[in-house]
Symmetry: C2
Subunit: 457 residues, 2 copies
Amino acid sequence: MWIRYGSVTDVTMDQIVSLCRRRGFVFPSSEIYGGLSSTYDYGHYGVLMKNEIRQAWLRAMVQERDDIVALDSAVILNPAVWEASGHVAGFTDPLVDCRTCKLRFRADKLEDSQCGKRPSKKPGEDAQCDLTEARQFNLMFQTQVGALEGASSTAFLRPETAQGIFINFKNVLQLARRKPPFGIAQTGKSFRNEITPGNFLFRVREFEQMEMEFFVPPADAPKWHEYWIEQRLDWHLGLGLRREMVRVRPHEAEELSHYSSATSDIEYLYPIGWQELEGVANRGDYDLTQHTKSSGTKLEFVGQDGERYVPYVIEPAVSIERIFVALLCDAYHEEVVGERERTVLRLSPRVAPVKAAVLPLISKDTGMATHARNLFEELRKRFSVEHDDSGQIGRRYRRQDEIGTPWAFTIDEQTLEDETVTVRDRDSLAQERIPISGVASWLSAALEQPWSPPAAA
Amino acid sequence: MWIRYGSVTDVTMDQIVSLCRRRGFVFPSSEIYGGLSSTYDYGHYGVLMKNEIRQAWLRAMVQERDDIVALDSAVILNPAVWEASGHVAGFTDPLVDCRTCKLRFRADKLEDSQCGKRPSKKPGEDAQCDLTEARQFNLMFQTQVGALEGASSTAFLRPETAQGIFINFKNVLQLARRKPPFGIAQTGKSFRNEITPGNFLFRVREFEQMEMEFFVPPADAPKWHEYWIEQRLDWHLGLGLRREMVRVRPHEAEELSHYSSATSDIEYLYPIGWQELEGVANRGDYDLTQHTKSSGTKLEFVGQDGERYVPYVIEPAVSIERIFVALLCDAYHEEVVGERERTVLRLSPRVAPVKAAVLPLISKDTGMATHARNLFEELRKRFSVEHDDSGQIGRRYRRQDEIGTPWAFTIDEQTLEDETVTVRDRDSLAQERIPISGVASWLSAALEQPWSPPAAA
């Protein structure tokens, strides 16, 4: 069943973590207090890049479509929502305690676990643990809403944004004058009290989901499922991921979630192996039926001709974090250019945190400094750009290469004579001269060009 | 001390709530389960408009400046952060219980409270309550991180994004090669377990903050405080708020937060009166000093010449919700045009959820339908636009007026003859003809024009 495309990547997660820390994409959270496991803060370039990913998703899912509307539901919903959805009863991991070291492990992931006091000697050998029976542990964070514990009610931080969509199905159906097929899209943070988080941003306690629930006539669900797998695969490739690093893998029957009749994962070949990048599930009528039962509000479509059914739901669901890591892994290259080593992120211009750098060749030259400053002021009204006048020009280029800036505009002596600048291309290293007055439209046009990753050197 | 500009607004909060519900800007959350008090979900137009507000803030605070970088820190930080910041001890409201009705009230807001069993007859009269002594109630939501309550640790949902910035001060100072004055900006959700929430989006349990901490040499703090009050006031006016509806009010000494040596509120004249739109505080060195003491990491600036100090912090802090409500209140008008009534949102094109509508005059006419469709497909690649072919043209205009769409492009019989369309202006109702091939650039230019609210009719 698996469709294999890729070869093994030679980028390590450590290289990505190190770059992220070094250039301020991502910091371990609460670092001055010893951190908080599996929690991260995003620095300047991380924020800019996440914004580009989110905007690209919203553009493809909402702005460029007729049939999908946006929603932004609350993190803390009425707790009855999570009873109805099955999360209170079933959103659990089985946990065991080790009587020797007192650590806690996931019963279904014991092969990855080690007793803290008596670790096994060989990889693959069983943990030398004296384990308790497995107990179910719910992954939802609980909190109390209201004044005091006695008088207040237990509520949950949402573990997925999808339920906020289902409970608004009727609102959207009525107000947005929609009928199936139509979709509701939402981005926002979800929270899971993971017991075995890890692998950098890969399994974190809070993450930003981008989910779209697409409501269709039941008979059309398989067709739409295939449609959305294709659409989402194309979208990821459009962000610049190399084709051979991405594959589609249908879930085996025993892998399926309780609500799903079919799921395919779009997987990326991360440094830790093939892993889910995005899941595209056929949730059937499970959720709307559950909420109809629990709330007493009929969540169904009634046509003008009396046609009446509970739509099936196709759900493409992804987190910004997994896209972020895939893009960085895919773009990361260490190479030798001339006699110099460089680290370069070959990011698609669309997702690069900075689109262009403006560099006066000799920063102490008043003419160059003024030209550079004016060009920068003009560009930053429309684009994310940087001005850098510190250090040798080669060093400035390498700083930009490392954060994936596609182009640099350099102001040099010739600029003062003929009002042209050089454009340096991050990937080809080619330089051409263009008029300084045409830089903004050159950049605008360059950003609209389709982009694909350059072939390996 | 108060600078009064405005007159009393004649829009009611009920009108705003009703419009938001009717057109899908905002829904009461978890409505099919009876709701959850003071929690709201945003529908399509609400999401689009919030995105515009957030983008405008990021553009002004990060993209167009040299001296501010972006950050996105976690919601759940190491709990030591909130000990150090003073929130565990001091982020409280004083509460009293009524022995008669068992309801709970804020001791400092008793004038707004009513005994549930024996309400007072006249407005302003004391609540007929038999009240307990006041007790302090912490407004931070608590949760447990880790596997089981015994083995896990109590953590808090952040009540402000600012602390996530302070604990990353050193990271940014080092990595972004900055020295004061410089700022760190962040948008994101914060959570407060408010006891007396209410007034629509005005006091809600989860809200999206936009905060910027600007680090300056201590002696320059008063100057920068004034600077940021001016900057932020200009920014709000640039979004289209009427000048007479906004004022600046310096806090009296007894109003100041424990960390603040001076705060000015930028206030808007909401239907419920003058209220904080944005606060601009001088936090002094309180936060960096507290985190230095608690973490052992020195959060200070050390210059190359050995200069050394703990920067003061100027903080402009606002929530998207308060801007959102102010913009809607400011833009809302009911008026009679010719013989017809209309509700119109005179929003600045910059924040309007939909920038333009494409309307085929006669939707069954194949030529008009095709022209309209092609124009729509072209525009939506770059702009948030709508295509509407259902119902009479007047009704379609009124639908767009009600959501604040600044322009409508109508395809009519003349379009088929000379390839022009009419542009209808939401505010002036003027119509002009322009070539259909020039619509995209017309719209692009129109969106870059400065905008101010039209004078009242």
